[in-house]
């Protein structure tokens, strides 16, 4: 088990290097450098050229790359050209916000999707199944932002149940209970809406898994042993049908990152997704590169997580 994990982590190292190289090339191709913002009618072009020399921007590319990589390892993602602050500090708070939103969303997604998928698979072609299928068509067909705006309009404006923007109220102090409650309260509506619309694939996988597994020979064997039907379902059919869903868990990280861009923008939620879109809008290339690198790393971690989960739940994948 641990050998498998270690092996997968070792495989990740070259992947990370390739990723960093790609991101570095991308960053080099983007216009601007840390001194772009300083250029104004009062600045001395000679002074800026001197600074560029001093900061090594005229060094050979590979020297710049290794230095950049070294800085990365120390958690230094560079300066934001626009905001004039270290990218690391810019991203950190947003990353924490996105983490909580994503966590809530994942938990809710699975809490909603699993019962729906189980119901549909269990009552294949009956009215329950048709109901779930209709729900699935809707969540699949409606564009997320339309769904979010409708949700905000209904639960935010019309009913006034939930706040519709930000991550915390302005009038609470960090560290107090009111602060935590406010943060949680701000998460509810976006995470519910986001999870509702993220269920489609899981519901579908689970339903198909159950429908397929139901007629498998090993299920017949279980029945021939005199195992009661509800146990046959929960212990044999369901466990086998949950395999692909478990593997999916790691991959949802990637999905959440792209999903976070839409939901965070619509809710003006200060997370990484919104930061990414804002950075594009402001042409904050240094922040963008850092975010791309981060998203890439998270995707790799997501895949790693999927593999580890698979090797835990499926004995056929275990490597001895």
């Amino acid at each position: 088990m641990w050998k498998t994990v270690l092996r997968r982590i070792l495989i990740m190292i070259p992947q990370l290097l390739i990723l960093s190289l790609l991101v570095f090339i991308l960053a080099k191709m983007m216009p601007g450098d840390p001194f772009t913002g300083m250029i104004n009618p009062n600045s001395d072009p000679k002074e800026i050229a001197r600074l560029r020399q001093e900061y090594g921007l005229n060094d050979p590319v590979w020297v710049q790359y290794t230095r950049w990589l070294g800085n990365m390892f120390h958690g230094d993602l560079g300066q934001s050209y626009i905001q004039k602050v270290p990218v690391t500090s810019l991203i950190w708070d947003r990353a924490v916000n996105t983490f909580w939103l994503s966590l809530m969303t994942v938990v809710l997604t699975y809490l909603i999707a699993i019962p729906l998928g189980v119901t549909a698979g269990r009552h294949q072609d009956e009215w329950q199944d048709h109901g779930v299928q209709i729900f699935n068509y809707i969540t699949y067909a409606v564009p997320p932002f339309v769904f979010y705006i409708l949700g905000i309009w209904l639960f935010g404006f019309t009913l006034g149940w939930f706040p519709i923007s930000g991550s915390v109220s302005a009038d609470v102090n960090p560290g107090t209970f009111a602060y935590f409650w406010s943060r949680f309260y701000h998460l509810i509506l976006p995470s519910i809406l986001c999870s509702l619309i993220s269920t489609t694939a899981i519901v579908q996988y689970l339903r198909t898994g159950i429908v397929d597994n139901k007629v498998e020979d090993y299920v017949r064997t279980a029945r021939s042993k005199g195992v009661p039907e509800n146990v046959v379902f929960n212990k044999h059919i369901l466990r086998n049908s949950l395999l692909p869903i478990a593997a999916f868990l790691g991959n949802t990280i990637t999905g959440l990152l792209s999903g976070s861009m839409v939901i965070e923008s619509v809710f003006s939620y200060p997370g990484m997704g919104k930061l990414f879109l804002d950075s594009i809008g402001q042409r904050d290339y240094s922040t963008l590169t850092a975010l791309i690198l981060l998203f890439g790393v998270l995707t790799l971690i997501g895949n790693l997580l999927s593999d580890i989960i698979m090797s835990i739940v499926d004995p056929r994948i275990r490597i001895k």
Binding site: R220, T221, A222, S224, V227, P228, N240, D314, P315, R316
Partner: protein, 336 residues
């Protein structure tokens, strides 16, 4: 369920019909069979003739919405046809054990094979976990698995086909059932393993005095193991007798052609008896006239009986064909 009488199963007028395109079609048509203690009853016939249908009807495992079963399957005065599910669950695995064709597919890929055997014990005995474990090891020894302790922890994909089938057999016999139904237990296995598994079944039958329904399409298997034989064609039993009679004095033309298509029988007259075509599908099955007539062109159509009944031609020998008297197969064979 107490386990006593010598007559284990008494199947009478069993009809099993599947719903296809909204209509029900008989896949087992008026089946009459008995299984006695200490007996191996072979049910033979080509693919699609309804062998598995009989097996699933006995053990009550079919899609109740799309299958209609009528007639009687008597087990110790208890009629298994449309028996209440919770009562049936007490019988399945306990009084009736089932062995299936494909040993990989018939084991849960996510469960240790030992636990899959122990699961049967969990539902039919009051053994605690330790006792169940010990019993599984005992069973693994009985079915000839090497290193049983180690095997207990294995997953199906780690075992060979022969070992998997031994696990399936261990599941079937875990509670010492009186009746074992084996649906093509050796078809998916290598020839050498086939013989071992058949020997094992015979051995189990001798030790436990159970009755085995052995479903197969292989007459070699029948010759080697069976006591009684029922030959099926297109949902019906066309001939039924003890194994000696079937091989020495087969009367139904279908039985005869099956025997002739056995690889080891003599050569010359074979061509004459090769049966062309396949079993008609359920929907296309002729409902009047002899179902087999279309496939034995060497007998004039006028000679066939309409809807042949099953006739007892000598004690214990049944044939669904009246023409057997008017044809002299022996002669015909020599002519050919």
């Amino acid at each position: 369920m107490e386990k006593q009488s010598d007559l284990l199963l008494d199947i009478e007028h069993l009809h099993t019909a599947y719903r296809l395109h909204g209509k029900f079609y008989d896949a087992a048509d008026d089946i009459n069979l008995t299984l006695k203690r200490n007996e191996i009853l072979a049910v033979v016939g080509e693919s699609g003739c309804g062998k598995s249908t009989i097996a699933s009807s006995i053990i009550g495992l079919y899609d109740h919405k799309n299958t209609k079963v009528t007639g009687d399957i008597l087990y110790n005065e208890l009629n298994l046809v449309n028996l209440n599910e919770s009562l049936f669950n007490k019988i399945r695995g306990n009084n009736i054990g089932m062995i299936f064709q494909d040993p990989l597919a018939s084991l849960n890929p996510l469960m240790k094979v030992g636990d899959q055997v122990a699961e049967t014990l969990y539902y039919h005995t009051d053994m605690d976990e330790k006792a169940r474990h010990a019993r599984v090891i005992e069973l693994f020894n009985q079915v000839g698995m090497p290193r049983p302790e180690e095997m207990y922890e294995m997953y199906p994909h780690e075992l060979s086909g022969g070992l998997r089938q031994r696990v399936v057999i261990a599941i079937a016999i875990a509670c010492k059932p009186e009746i074992i139904i084996a649906d093509e237990p050796t078809t998916a296995l290598d020839v050498t393993i086939q013989a071992q598994i058949l020997d094992l079944l015979k051995e189990i039958q001798k030790e436990s005095h159970s009755g085995i329904v052995l479903i197969t399409h292989d007459l070699g298997v029948v010759a080697e193991t069976a006591d009684q034989v029922a030959v099926m064609y297109a949902g019906q039993i066309v001939e039924k007798a003890d194994v000696k009679t079937i091989f020495q004095n087969p009367l139904h033309p279908y039985t005869r052609s099956l025997l002739h298509s056995m690889p080891q029988t003599d050569d010359e007259s074979q061509d004459l008896h090769v049966i062309h075509g396949t079993v008609p599908s359920l929907v296309n099955m002729p409902r009047t006239g002899d179902r087999f007539a279309a496939r034995i062109p060497w007998i004039p159509a006028s000679a066939h009986e309409e809807n042949p009944k099953i006739h007892e031609v000598e004690p214990g020998h049944f044939v669904r064909c009246t023409c057997w008297q008017s044809f002299h197969f022996q002669d015909e064979e020599k002519k050919g």
